[in-house]
Amino acid sequence: MSLSALTISGVDKFYGPIDRGVHAVKNLTMEIGKGEIVALLGSSGCGKTSTLRMIAGFEEVSRGAISVGGRQVHTLPPVKRNVAMAFEGYSLYPPLTVRENMAFALKAARLPKSEVDAKVASIAKLLEIEDILERYPSSISGGQQQRASLGRALIREADLHLLDEPMGQLEPQLRAVLRGRIKHFIKERGLTAILVTHDQTEANALADRIAVMEGGVLQQFDTPERIKERPANLFTGTFVGEPPMNVFEAYVATAAGRINLKLPDGLSLDYDKDAFSAPVRDQLLSRERVVIGIRPYAVRRSREGVPARVSANQWLGDQTHIAADFAGGSLVLVEHDRTRLDLGAPINVSIDPKNLHVFDQASGKAISHGMELA
């Protein structure tokens, strides 16, 4: 990260009067390096699109500052920010063909026609829309419009490429292919891109770093691996990962040199004190109540272990998702083989302390991940 491509510092967004309107983005601060691909990930209404539109200049920044390439832009009109954007609703110009729509973005830059044609051709090939270049937006499918809109953004040379749900309308196979190509395209040209998505597969596949947002607050901004392995809080832990992390409240107790994590329904996860690293053990013992999280992949069936009762069993073609009634809630585990378990069948599960995520009961902040403190 040599140069910063985008700096957002202390940005607030209110819809309506400041401090009284709807607080859509809360004190957002992030820095994105040149050549990075960053995904803003979150559910609907989490503030990710508001953030993108503030960067583009379609929404006013209520408080704080945004710089692109070291230049303060949050008071400039969109035309002066030098950013390109692909819109969620495509927003192609209806009276123009797909080719004209894409070439149009270059018109303002006054490039020679041969160069424009070459660029359109190469982007069209990349996005597999060569055969619809002469058609009008109203006569092509949603997926094709989306690719044309994406092409219109990628064709431009801008300091920042903003992609709002760029692949939401595409078929799964095409999406997988295009993800790879688009990432390659962006990396090859050293572009900086921010994409907004609620699809974590897309975020994981495309982004160098993911910013998880919820309720207008940035929850965590880190690489996909670290977000998966070291979620900063309960929200990130449960939001990222498919199927979602299993979460249970637990009382911490000690008996005869063992640590008991007491779950509802009289169940308890018992571990030897030495099963935890010293700092994690100290943290655990200093608390009375915690929230524990276990990824479904980390739950093992074993002969001894805590009892559970199967409530659903789905074979997805390459893995089995088993849901079980456990400790007053539901526990999901994933196995790679096809497992034959009838509904209501009793099973026993064990959880390796190395796979245990511990969160603070009150704040939801992560305390430890496996053997390491958060």
Partner: protein
């Protein structure tokens, strides 16, 4: 294709014919009267066969009205010219003011924008005569009575709210992101309005302009009160055909034919344009 039986098609044809005859009858009758003299018009019983005469049109175009009592000067052609001038100018002024205003109301929600838009609409609520009395007094003080400028100004009461509210709806139907996409591509706010918003709302602007034109053309009471003979449009000018020697039905009919021709032509022309504009599928999400 829906299957329809022969009987159904025949019945539908008859029904359509009846409707067309019902609505077209007055126009056809007026058209026929315009080629007859008062004597043949007033024959009892009325007859469909007559010897056509162009005397009514000649009288209107030359401005000499022959009556039993003698020759009357009639300013019909001048009235027609006034109608064209007043309507065209009023609609042009309204479009110039109303379209940017409609865009502002559609795109920029500012404090009181709804109230202002509603106030403009409310101009249409008051009965015209209620407005006219004070207006006449003001206009006489301001020297605007019996001037084209004064009339065009008053005509804004008819045209402006209409254009503003219709065009605003069309602007609101254009997704804002299309304009954003254009602006982020390196174009100013004004270029976006001109190159994206205006063409996309084109059919709507044409429809609103046409409607406003028809309303302006058909206006009677404003011009009756505020204008003297040389500034009056055809609607008021037609009163001149009620002469001391009787009502000149033939000339009135010819005058009506001449005065509905421009609006009819415009409507037919614009209809084609409107259908074209809409079938291009203006904006689809």
């Amino acid at each position: 294709m829906e299957h329809t039986s022969l009987l159904e098609r025949i019945l539908r044809g008859i029904a359509l014919t009846l409707v067309v005859i019902f609505f077209m009858f007055p126009i056809v009758w007026i058209f026929m009267m315009s080629f007859q003299t008062n004597e043949t018009i007033l024959r009892i019983p009325p007859q469909l066969i007559f010897e056509p005469t162009l005397a009514n049109y000649t009288a209107l175009i030359t401005g000499k009205l022959m009556t039993a009592a003698g020759t009357l000067d009639i300013a019909f052609m001048r009235n027609l010219g006034n109608s064209v001038f007043l309507s065209v100018t009023s609609v042009a002024v309204s479009l110039l003011l109303g379209v940017p205003a409609a865009y502002a109301f559609a795109r920029h929600k500012f404090r009181g924008s709804e109230d202002i838009a509603f106030t403009l609409l409310s101009f249409k609520f008051a009965p015209a005569l209620l407005v006219l009395l004070p207006l006449t007094l003001y206009f006489q003080k301001l020297g605007l009575a019996n001037t084209y400028i004064g009339l065009i100004w008053v005509y804004q009461l008819i045209c402006l709210p209409l254009i503003l509210w219709i065009v605003r709806g069309y602007f609101e139907d254009i997704p804002a992101d299309i304009e954003y996409a254009y602006r982020i591509g390196g174009h100013s706010w004004f270029a976006t309005f001109r190159k994206i918003a205006l063409p996309l709302a084109g059919p709507g602007i044409a429809a609103a302009g046409l409607l406003a034109f028809i309303f302006a053309w058909n206006n009677f009471v404003f011009a009756l009160v505020l204008a003297s003979a040389d500034k009056q449009p055809v609607t008021v000018g037609a009163l001149a055909f009620i002469t001391s020697s009787g009502i000149q039905y033939g000339q009135i009919s010819a005058a009506i034919v001449l005065s509905i021709t421009p609006t009819l032509a415009l409507a037919l022309y614009a209809q084609r344009y409107l259908v074209e504009g809409l079938s291009l599928g203006a904006v689809k999400g």
